[in-house]
Symmetry: C2
Subunit: 224 residues, 2 copies
DNA sequence: TAGATTGTTAATCGATTAACAATC
DNA sequence: TAGATTGTTAATCGATTAACAATC
């Protein structure tokens, strides 16, 4: 293993790790194909096949010359790496449009995520059902987290209340936060935070369009 | 300007660009502070102040020694860079839970995005209202895109229909796609695609948790 | 066997960090 | 002025690419 550290853990360059997520997605999308070549993965993601091979060389799996990668096996290895088969009990707070959408997201169980409770500070929403779950008041947070050994909290509240909610979750024993509110949360270092920040994504979209616009202007102003 | 290219466009390292988005967010969050130091920005994002200064040095804005960066001015410069003040007419297809949530997202107008029409292939949904907009059938796509000079299409349909929808949007003249479906779209090179992929984000979350788990195991198995 | 495709090593390129100069 | 903070240059580090060896 070329990338093993002293403690036995594997090291992955951050960029490699991000691409491995994309490979997982590409492979999971594929119908019932047996094998796939680095060329085909690369083509779908608009990167080079060398890059794909280099990245895959970091995990303990080997493709076959002339055949490519065995999709099922490689996918299993990627899933082991990401820990997708581990089970987690999850809570979600903020049952607005976005919260309801996330709560109804069908893909969760494939990743071992089970939502065990929903929370909202709005008394009007408390007691109502979303899917098969009653919306609970925030004061029940601690009880539920203890009872279901909840590790992950999903934050879908407006950005004004996100920081305070995060602190309450942490105080109640949550280990990881999946944050959909468009702010930077401040939490202790040992708490895992994954941001799904629509505003950041929007900045990326706007910037790409702005770049295209500027490129067009240059073409227009360049005498041919 | 140290990073100017021959064509006059500025070049930014990709990593720098991603962090500039975070700076935009941090500054936009701030109450009515006048100035902010590289130290404070760095502290909030858990990076180094040197990195912050280096990144900001790429844009044509200068901070003041002993004072820091003037928030309002820097924010304006970042917004110019990202093109957030440009106006775009936008359509959204797929008015399920997620689509409705996106359509109701309050932050769009601040980024110059105006949703001018909603689409869904489900006849049951066609004719119903979401916000102040009627849901239209897909066959109206071309007409609306032409009429409103729509540049951006938001895809919120299930992943099975996302590729075909993307192709229709492209055929009707869309220049950019904001894709919320968890698949890799295949579109021509001149089409801008920004993915907001919840599954990828979920992989990131699971992986960070898996890493923590492994680290804990090592600590446990290391004789002290 | 020849050919196709993977895997690895070395070279290049790019990004981060460190050191320090500039300046308010 | 002294001190704090920004800005820049050079050194280091890390990631990508190119070349080619390995192998089915």
């Amino acid at each position: 293993m070329p990338n093993e550290q002293e403690n036995g853990l594997l090291y992955f360059p951050k960029a490699t790790l991000d691409r491995l997520k994309l490979y997982q997605m590409v492979l999971a999308e594929l119908p019932d194909k047996e094998n796939i070549s680095s060329d085909e993965i690369a083509e779908r993601l608009k990167i080079t096949p060398e890059q794909v091979r280099k990245d895959i060389s970091y995990i303990k799996y080997n493709g076959k010359p002339k055949v490519g990668y065995h999709i099922k096996t490689l996918l299993e290895e990627l899933n082991r790496l990401f820990g997708t088969t581990n089970k987690n009990n999850v809570i979600l707070a903020g049952v607005g449009h976005l919260g309801a959408a996330i709560a109804n997201y069908p893909g969760f169980s494939a990743y071992g995520m089970e939502i065990v409770a929903l929370f909202d500070s709005d008394p009007q929403k408390q007691g109502t059902f979303v899917r098969d779950l009653t919306v609970l008041p925030i004061k029940d947070l601690r009880r539920i987290i203890k009872r279901f050994k909840v590790e992950i909290g999903i934050i879908c509240v407006p950005k004004e209340s996100a920081q305070s909610l995060a602190e309450q979750m942490v105080a109640c024993g949550i280990r990881a936060i999946w944050n959909f509110a468009p702010i930077i949360l401040r939490v202790p270092d040992d708490i895992v935070v994954e941001d799904e920040n629509i505003s950041i994504s929007l900045l990326g979209l706007k910037h790409k369009l702005e770049q295209r616009r500027q490129e067009r202007q240059i073409v227009k102003n360049t005498p041919s």
